[in-house]
């Protein structure tokens, strides 16, 4: 291992790595935002939807959860182009990750809502709350306590899954690293460095998740 040569190359490539990092962050951020918005809808549909709607949403989540993310990304990239929706690799990749994220968030929301004892809903009915009121004052706040920590975990999953976009040619951190390696042949050093950067980001998110979990738990 040649440390000085690596540091030289690292300094020369700092802009490229920073751009890659920025790309990784924007992919993850967009995927999480869109995925969460979709996922809350999916979760509500799974819990409160009428029969046919619930079946459709269930089929959607089961299909997405049974397919590897890489297949979703490749399919979104190639298939959307074939049916005339011309998306670049970035948009297609973000879309695939958002869809993947939505099925996970959907299951989290459903799990949280269903774990609230039925007695709570009945009590709310008994004191005359309408359904939107029940949701806003009784179910929502309790579900949120369970959703938040799991949701932060999903965010870390998204950062990790964003590496797969390198396969369809989005210049995020991993692809930038691969470009650097093909130029400098320092594969050990640069893969290690990329792994380290991802670790730092995800470890930060994980610690934040622990913090959120502590904050949202019911004080004893």
């Amino acid at each position: 291992m040649d440390i000085p040569a690596f540091l030289d190359q690292l300094f020369a490539a700092r802009m490229s790595i920073l751009k890659g990092m920025g790309m990784t962050v924007s992919i993850s951020f967009l995927a999480i935002c869109i995925g969460t918005a979709l996922g809350v809808g999916v979760g509500l549909g799974l819990t409160y939807g009428a029969k046919p709607l619930r079946w459709i949403v269930r089929a959607y989540t089961d299909f997405i959860r049974g397919t590897p993310v890489l297949v979703l990304i490749l399919a979104s990239y190639y298939v959307l182009g074939a049916i005339g929706v011309d998306l670049g690799p970035f948009e297609a990749g973000v879309l695939a990750l958002a869809v993947f994220c939505s099925s996970h968030v959907g299951e989290i929301v459903r799990g949280a809502l269903q774990s609230i004892p039925l007695g709570q809903t009945e009590a709310a009915k008994a004191i005359g709350l309408t359904f939107p009121q029940t949701f806003a004052y009784v179910l929502g706040p309790q579900a949120l306590r369970q959703i938040l920590p799991a949701w932060v975990n999903t965010a870390a999953e998204m950062v990790k899954a964003s590496t797969l976009l390198s396969i369809i040619g989005v210049a995020e951190l991993l692809l930038r690293t691969q470009e650097l390696i093909s130029r400098t042949f320092l594969s050990l050093e640069f893969y290690f460095f990329a792994g380290f950067l991802y670790f730092v980001v995800n470890y930060g998110i994980e610690r934040f998740g622990r913090y959120v979990e502590r904050k949202t738990s019911i004080p004893t």
Binding site: L188, G195, N202
Partner: protein
Amino acid sequence: MGYTLNFSAVWRSFDLLLEGLALSLALACAAILIGCAIGLVTAFCLMSKSGAYRRPARAYVTIIRNTPILVLILFTYFALPQLGLTLSKIESFVLTLAIYSGAYLAEVFRAGLLSVPIGLREAGLAIGLREMQIRSAIILPLMVRNVLPSLGSTFISLFKDTSLAAAIAIPELTFEARKINVETFRVIETWIVASLLYVATCSVLAALVRVAERRLSIPR
């Protein structure tokens, strides 16, 4: 739209997809067998009173869980040869997947071990069993029943992760699908068939796990 679905090109190469699927399953099986061994040892280390065992085990779990699997795969395959460890594609992929799953299984097994009541261990000590006998005859059989659902879902997600082997050109299902896609341009058909194969395999695996759970459950 001007696109007519025509599955004949995909059916002609269906054998390739099935071979790919078989390889995916084989990779996942090999990885989880080694991963279970790693996970079990790590779980015992995580629960050890001595920091000399606990700290390295905790570091291993934290590092692996916070690093994207694609980075790990590329690192093992492209960077380790620099350190003099040259593995074939399949060896390096199975090794990576095993180390990766080991970190997740360690947490699964730890939860399983914690769920075995302490009284059983004490009872074992009382009738004069040695530490290893208590582990193999009392704790492990009970733990296996407890962890079966999580073990099953880890295996299913591991099976989906085998799609990443396409990144280092191992001819598993995703790789074959991509090849058919590029050779025939039957984009939509290829990805529909490939993702349905994944979804179908995942549901069969989930059903098998449920059967195993029923078979192994303690009769009441």
